[in-house]
């Protein structure tokens, strides 16, 4: 039986990717030590040593082994703590579907959302919203197929796809708030709207999901920093 000191997570409260690792550990009831990185003050030695390649959070440190990249971490957690509730579906085709949508979120949907932060001017920001909405409609459809009438993508319990998508809900709500938009709506994504509430209330999620207001404040601060950095110096 591993002691809690044997599992560490290096992370940041605002990072959706860090949330994935923490939710996965919570599902498996694994005790772990959480170490908050203050990214704007410089990266810790432990982070630089455990993730020399990317120097990014999350990092899972299991014993003396660091594992990086959030989806790699979640799969690792699922495979190591195999006696706990399963995170990936048991059916191979369903597993492939879950991985497919996780890749879509990371490679297409979330990068699109991030462009809103850097977009100069309200018009540029508003142009991105329909792209995000289109993606959410695809996910609404996927939810119908994967959940088969059950509360989560993973069925009765939250699973890989729930974690991969749900971690972005905090930032999704900030985006809605700051742009006066409704990304998840009764109109186009009714099932996801309800799923979002269930996900955020889940025992494995609620303590690691950041509050929207706190995230919004943080977002304003980093957007200001990013714009200042992007402004050409004369």
């Amino acid at each position: 039986m591993l002691k809690s000191e044997d599992v560490k997570v290096l992370g940041s409260w605002s990072s959706p990717f860090v949330m994935r690792a923490r939710i996965a550990l919570n599902i498996k009831s694994v005790n772990y030590e959480y170490l908050e990185e203050r990214l704007w003050e410089g990266k810790s030695e432990l982070l630089l040593k455990s993730n020399p390649v990317h120097k990014k959070i999350p990092v899972l440190i299991h014993g003396d082994k660091p594992i990086c990249e959030s989806l790699v971490i979640v799969q690792y957690i699922d495979e190591v703590w195999s006696s706990g509730p399963s995170i990936l579906p048991s059916d191979s085709h369903e597993r492939a579907t879950a991985r497919f949508w996780a890749a879509y979120l990371d490679e297409k949907w979330f990068p699109t959302m991030k462009t809103i932060g850097l977009a100069q001017g309200e018009d540029a920001r508003k142009a991105v919203i329909p792209q995000l909405e289109e993606g959410l409609v695809l996910l609404e459809e996927a939810f119908g197929k994967c959940s088969k009438g059950k509360p989560f993508f993973g069925g009765d319990q939250i699973g890989f796809q729930d974690i991969a998508f749900g971690c972005f809900l905090g930032w999704l709500r900030v985006t809605e708030k700051m742009n006066g938009a409704k990304l998840l709506s009764e109109d186009k994504t009714p099932a996801l709207l309800e799923w979002a509430h269930r996900f955020c209330s889940d025992a494995a999620v609620k303590d690691v999901m950041p509050e929207t207001d706190k995230l919004a404040e943080f977002s304003k601060m980093i957007m200001a920093k990013m714009r200042a950095a992007a402004t050409p110096k004369s």
Binding site: H62, K65, E69, Y76, S92, H93, R95, A96, F100, A103
Partner: protein, 223 residues
Amino acid sequence: MADEVKLFGMWASPYSLRVELALKLKGIPYEYIEEDLSNKSSLLLKYNPVHQKIPVLVHNGKPVAESSVILEYIDEIWRDNPVLPQDPYDRAMARFWAKFIDEKIQPTARNANLAEEKEREQAVEECCQQLKMLENELQGKPFFGGDTMGYLDIAALVIAFWFEVVREVVGLDLITEERFPILCKWIGKLQDIDVINECRPPKEKHVNYVRARYEAAKAAASN
């Protein structure tokens, strides 16, 4: 009932090659369907509506898209000659480095090849640093997978063969014997493997294809 396996692919795509190789290494019979990417078939659009890209594996009528997702699927369904390691930590490392190849090495190599002269040195340096990190994973082993090829070797084939073709077209030699002796040795081993030679794009055809795309990219960049 026998399994029906179809692969929608494209002869010059490294992602398509990954899937073909995995199927061949496991001895899985399949039907290969060559897609004309300028005129995608309605079947491809039906099986991969989200991305409309190859490769797509269709197993008994059910589609699986994204090369890394397909490789994991193949490994789970056909358990002989596993492509991924058994140990969870080793699996995590294979997945990590495969992602690194696709998200870091490939884009920086592309930048280095398309860079204007004044930016080229820096772009090449960045790519070489990343290649060095990957090469370190080969230390003491003939293949990334150990004694035999595995998931990461399959993912890294793009470095072995596509980089060579791009070098012929662009003239930029990223993987020199001097700088990457271990990677070069690994590439040498791959060239002796029959099953790889069966699925590799034919050299001359590949060079012409890449040359046409490179010239188009250069033309687009200068407009």
